[in-house]
């Protein structure tokens, strides 16, 4: 019986992959009628950054990015909403390994440097806010594992401010652009590059915060509330 189930599942997945592959094959046969890269190349100067991916992310499709950061913040919020304690610190997760501790002294600064570089590089070659933020968060994770106390990670106003900072700035820019008479999210002439840089910087910080918060959040405890209608 069990075997039969597995077999059917396998068949189903194979069929699915088959259809998918077929579709891919058929599609790859014919050229796409619209070529965005062309359009992109034409409008790249106006976007204010040299690197097309960054241009798409933060100018042409900046609305996507705005919402995407929103998603990230939501995850962060939902994460810390699980917390029932004053500090997100979880001593159980500390490993005081002397070697790790020693290495950190070297690694953490190095990683911070790398993050900075990635951020700066974003404008003209691969890199950008998210990559930088990820590296930053990673260094945070290392510190955490290395047992360096991180008391700033309380579900207090500071943490929440940190979560929201990048998103807020991005949003403010968007609105400012709207107030400046352009459409929502349309950067005024010439301001594109500096604005994008500012946004990227704060985004980096916030992304790192969110990822770190999600890593350390929901420390374990027995707090819970009864289901609706069950007095308790």
């Amino acid at each position: 019986m069990r075997v039969l189930g597995v077999v059917t599942m396998v068949v189903a997945c194979v069929v699915f992959a088959g259809f998918l592959g077929l579709a891919v094959w058929q599609i790859s046969g014919a050229p796409a009628p619209v070529s965005l890269p062309g359009l992109l190349a034409v409008n790249l100067e106006a976007s204010g950054v040299e690197h097309p991916v960054t241009a798409v992310l933060l100018n042409f499709r900046s609305y996507d990015t705005l919402l995407e950061i929103g998603v990230l913040v939501i995850a962060g919020i939902a994460g810390i909403s699980m917390a029932r304690t004053t500090s997100l610190e979880d001593p159980d997760l500390r490993t005081s390994d002397s070697l790790l501790y020693a290495l950190q002294r070297w690694f953490v600064p190095l990683m911070l440097l790398l993050a900075g570089y990635l951020l700066w590089a974003g404008s003209d070659r691969p890199g950008g806010a998210f990559q930088a933020g990820a590296v930053l968060a990673a260094s945070g994770v290392m510190m955490r594992l290395g047992g360096i106390p991180m008391d700033f990670l309380r579900p207090g106003v500071l943490l929440r401010l940190g979560l929201a900072l990048g998103f807020t700035v991005f949003l403010l820019v968007a609105v400012a652009s709207a107030l400046a008479g352009e459409a929502f999210l349309a950067y005024p002439e010439g301001f594109a590059k500096p604005l994008i840089l500012v946004i990227e910087t704060v985004l980096t910080f916030s992304i790192a915060m969110v990822l770190l918060a999600l890593f350390v959040s929901a420390p374990v405890n027995r707090a819970q509330e009864p289901e609706e209608g069950e007095r308790g």
Binding site: V14, V24, S28, P37, L40, V71, I74, R222
Partner: protein, 116 residues
């Protein structure tokens, strides 16, 4: 077929495998990993299919970047939920009821059992 299409087909394979894992596995973390596998597959298809002409197309790359962030956010949230769920119920699957798992964590005991 152009070499870029290889990525697309790799993505197709990943999707298939991921789907299988997703419906087959019960352990929530494994399910989650399967989901991420599928996600990578989708991203590969997106990029690979778009740049079949040879020259890379930055738009899908940007989309994939966005997609990755979203996927990470979702995954992280899922992990947080699963972790707390495991701690409160001692379960690592969505099974309504059934035999309690071997090592139900005691409040004081180390919460991150080998289960997770």
């Amino acid at each position: 077929m152009s070499s870029q299409l290889l990525y697309a087909f790799a993505g197709v394979a990943l999707c298939g495998i991921g789907l299988f894992g997703y419906i087959r596995l019960d352990h929530l973390l494994r399910k989650l990993l399967a989901f991420n596998l599928m996600g990578s597959g989708v991203f590969l298809v997106m990029v690979g299919l778009a740049q079949r002409g040879g020259e890379p197309d930055p738009v899908p790359q940007a989309l994939v970047l966005t997609g990755i962030v979203v996927a990470i956010a979702a995954t992280a949230l899922a992990v947080v939920l699963i972790r707390r769920y495991y701690h409160l119920s001692g379960r690592t699957t969505l099974a309504e009821s059934g035999p309690e798992p071997k090592n139900t964590p005691k409040p004081e005991a180390h919460p991150e059992g080998a289960e997770v």
